[in-house]
């Protein structure tokens, strides 16, 4: 018991990734070879990271394999304000953080048909943080939002025949949430807005359980078809909201505010409905030296309809509507084997945003994405190094509708511009 707890601590201190690099706050960058094929990996499924993409992929892998890697995510996001608020000419920048969700996998074949594996990866995460939070014009909505998660997934796969394998994994997802913002107060003497408190909400770690299923079929020579499903999960968090007073400079007003504001620490409860997702992919090696795969992924983002924060000791509840819609993304992955040792890869992904236009805001400014990537794999004896770089272009996201009406639900309108560079690498060893 004690040692398992220590293991968790060790894993988490290593890296708790927090950034959203699939639409919404999904993350699909779980292995460098798969990233090199733009995540179109449900049917190719031929390295241990398939525990994430399609558990059935393990059924066709021989011997024992270890794979370790990470994806370095560098997001660049900015915002150009519009009227009526925060106003034309205002620009805001996202903080230039570096995120590195890990992907660590071990798989071992037992007998001819059975393979066991265990993997650690990040399926969901979010990290939106704005520069200069004390001056940031959206600070009364959110200055920083984090959803961090790391999943451990024991997986078993069974090869029913040379043409068909199935797999199942038990996903243990550890996650936590942090939300930071400022509390406004309208000074009745001047009708100007004052910052009167910082509100920092931090949850404890919550464990939620789910599962992943997969089927991988190789009906004809050079063709494979994969299907995978990852179940939805609800994570229930307990945590603390800390209200820190910001003096206004007026002693009488400060005295009044101190009686009205819930300063100090307060217990909070919140929960997140992580969506379920299903992927379907077809891959072919019919063209000599080439692997081509096309995938479609569907995610039930409509389950993320509200974010409810309950202040248990204050007996109050804050409901932040999200109103996400289910979303689809399409992936094309290409690989060309240049020699025994070297493979070059490329791909494209179109990732549809689940977020309604009026919801694009400081907490999470999402948008439809186009990803282009290049990568390579190099095998030397028992070692394989995979490297991939994904250039992720977000379409400009405006909060004005076709008639030019400002529709952001928090009254914060403008255009979000985001670009991200994702550098993934994995090192694998075949025992």
């Amino acid at each position: 018991m004690r040692s398992s707890k220590l293991l968790w601590v060790a894993v988490f201190s290593l890296a708790l990734p927090a950034i959203s690099f699939g639409a919404g706050f999904g993350i699909f960058e779980a292995g460098a070879k798969a990233v090199g094929m733009s995540g179109a990996f449900t049917a190719t499924a031929d390295d241990p990271s398939t525990m994430f993409y399609n558990p059935a992929g393990l059924a066709f892998q021989k011997g024992s394999k270890m794979m370790m890697g990470a994806t370095l995510i560098m997001p660049f996001n900015s915002f150009e304000g519009g009227n009526p608020y925060p106003g034309e000419g205002v620009t805001e920048d996202g903080k230039k953080n570096l995120f590195y969700p890990p992907g660590i996998y071990y798989a071992r074949q037992f007998g001819e048909k059975l393979t066991f594996g265990i993997g650690a990866f990040t399926a969901f995460g979010l990290g939106t943080e704005w520069e200069n939070p004390d001056q940031y014009t959206g600070r009364f909505i959110s200055t920083k939002a984090d959803i961090q998660s790391l999943s451990i997934q024991p997986t078993v796969a069974y090869r029913l025949s040379d043409k068909l394998g199935v797999g199942v994994g038990l996903e243990v997802r550890n996650s936590k949430v942090a939300l930071h913002k400022h509390q406004p107060f309208l000074n009745p003497y001047t009708l100007k807005v004052l910052d009167v408190a910082k509100v920092d909400l931090e949850s404890d770690m919550a464990i939620s359980l789910g599962f992943a299923l997969g089927v991988l079929a190789k009906p004809f020579e050079n063709w494979s078809v994969g299907f995978s499903y990852r179940h939805s999960m609800k994570a229930d968090y307990e945590g603390t909201a800390k209200f820190t007073f910001i003096p206004t400079g007026n002693a009488a007003l400060d005295a009044l505010l101190k009686t009205k504001l819930p300063l100090g620490d307060h217990a909070v409860k919140t929960s997140i409905n992580f969506p379920k997702e299903a992927s379907f992919g077809i891959a072919t090696t019919a063209i000599e030296k080439w692997t081509v795969e096309v995938d479609v992924n569907w995610t039930s983002w409509s389950e993320f309809d509200t974010l409810v924060i309950e202040f248990t000791d204050l007996n109050s509840k804050q409901t932040i509507p999200q109103d996400y819609k289910d979303a689809v993304n399409c992936r094309l992955g290409l690989q060309r084997q240049m020699s025994e040792k070297l493979a070059l890869r490329g791909g494209y992904i179109y990732d549809q945003t689940p977020q309604p236009r009026n919801g694009a805001g400081p907490l999470l400014p999402d948008s439809d994405r186009h990803g282009f990537n290049v990568g390579f794999g190099y095998t030397l004896g028992k070692w394989t190094l995979d490297v991939a770089n994904l250039f992720l272009f977000f379409e400009d996201r405006s909060t004005y509708d076709v008639d030019g009406k400002h529709i952001n639900k928090d009254g914060y309108d403008g255009t979000y511009k985001t670009f991200a560079n994702l550098l993934a690498f994995s090192l694998s060893y075949q025992f």
């Binding site: 304000g81 620009t91 003497y189 100007k192 009254g411």
Partner: protein
């Protein structure tokens, strides 16, 4: 030769295209606003230049590019009458500034663009030149004819019309709903507005009108609870767990009735409060209370007036700004700007000024944006909304991309190449 001719023709065409594109689709050069105190920019119990320059017609004019061509009957500090100011929040003390302002733009050798006259009812717009009880007619009309006559002299290129608020407001302010005395009888309003639209019909294609808000939603009526309230906590006083109603002229106040702000001085003397709770047990005077019957009558008038306005607007194909619906929405949910919720609460809400009847500076800007939204929608204009940030004193940050400018440029260029259809077309053409 032929080619040169063609090029010249192209040049001519493009030149004419440029010439055919003036600043916008609406010509604001002779913009005239017709209305009452709401159009004049009256707030906190008076009219003064510092707020007149930010009344909704001035904001529309400046967005439309008119600038100093939009002339108003400006009044010097501290206003006519001198404006109210908040002296103390707890206890609530609102006082008038000392002194009196004077008109400072009386010598304008033409009618004012803003012909909003505080206190004017619909009939006044058609026929009143002077009123011994209301100095604003002389200040604004200067004996040079009625509002419609002066409008005709200006021959407007664009016109906003917001008339009828005072045809019902008197019933609320006086606490008495008497047809022909405190409010305009419905058939009379119908007749007057029909005539007004007929008189203004030469400009109907450049005209936009607004309807009348339900005046029983203004703080003047809603600020004071109908129950005895603890002045320190602001919470209702409970006896045996029950709230205690104030005493009105018809006995204990019932749900659906309103205690007007004019009752506050009586409440301070103990009127309306039962003896056992420290009052004098005497009822509040009739003119400080709206009974449910009076509220029903007032609302029926508002609805009938608005039906008249809607029907005339439809007949003359004039766009209608539904201020009534908008104010109801704001009264119910608040107006959210940058995560700050402004409400219709008295003094502390932000939307209304200290007289409890007229909007605040911010309130007028919010109203102006509603007009602008409709102007853009109906006339196909792209007038920018009023920026609310300066009103709220929320400092914008002006950081920009800084050292990451090159990334922005790179992203922009790559997007042009990969994503934009026009870029692809351009590439096709140059090939």
């Amino acid at each position: 030769m032929k080619r040169t001719l063609f090029a010249l023709a192209l040049l001519a065409v493009s030149a004419s295209l440029v010439a055919a594109q003036p600043s916008g689709k609406v010509d604001f050069s002779r913009y005239v606003s017709i209305g009452d105190s709401l159009t004049a920019g009256y707030l906190s119990g008076g009219l003064v230049q510092t707020t007149q320059v930010r009344d909704y017609p001035a904001l529309i004019a400046s967005r439309g590019g008119l600038g100093s061509g939009f002339q108003q009957p400006l009044i010097s500090e501290p206003g006519i009458p001198a404006l109210l100011y908040l002296k103390s929040l707890v206890p609530l003390v609102i006082e008038r500034k000392p002194g009196m302002g004077v008109p400072i733009n009386l010598n304008l050798p033409r009618p004012y663009n803003n012909l909003g006259i505080p206190g004017a009812i619909s009939l006044d717009i058609l026929q009143t030149v002077t009123d011994p009880d209301n100095p604003f007619f002389d200040i604004i009309l200067r004996g040079q004819g009625t509002v419609v006559q002066q409008t005709s002299v200006l021959n407007p290129t664009f016109m906003t019309v917001w008339v009828g608020n005072n045809d019902i407001l008197g019933a609320v302010i006086s606490g008495r709903a008497i047809d022909g005395v405190t409010m305009t009888p419905i058939p009379v309003f119908n007749q007057v507005m029909t005539q007004l639209f007929a008189v203004l019909s030469p400009w109907k294609s450049r005209m936009i009108v607004a309807n009348i808000p339900d005046v029983s939603t203004i703080p003047y009526a809603t600020a004071i609870s109908i129950y005895v309230t603890n002045p320190v906590t602001g919470q209702p006083v409970l006896i045996n767990g029950q709230k205690v109603p104030l005493i009105g002229p018809q006995g204990p106040m019932v749900e659906g009735s309103y205690v007007l702000i004019s009752a506050s001085s009586y409440l301070a003397q103990g009127y309306g409060i039962p003896v056992q709770l420290g009052g004098n047990g005497q009822p509040l005077p009739d003119e400080t209370v709206l009974t449910p019957d009076e509220v029903v009558v007032i609302r029926a008038h508002v609805n009938a007036f608005n039906a008249t306005i809607a029907s005339l607007a439809a007949t003359y194909k004039v766009p209608l700004v539904d201020v009534n619906a908008y104010l109801k929405e704001i009264a119910a949910k608040g107006y959210i700007v940058g995560g700050v919720t402004l409400t219709t609460a008295f003094v502390t809400g932000g939307v209304f000024s200290l007289d409890g009847v007229h909007p605040s500076d911010i309130g007028y800007a919010v109203v102006a944006n509603k007009w602008i939204e409709k102007i853009n929608e109906h006339f196909g204009e792209t007038i920018p909304y009023v920026n609310l940030a300066p009103y709220l004193g929320m400092r914008p940050t002006q950081t920009g991309w800084g050292e990451w400018t090159w990334v922005d440029d790179m992203v922009h260029n790559l997007k042009q190449v990969f994503l934009k259809p026009e870029a692809r077309q351009y590439l096709d053409r140059t090939r």
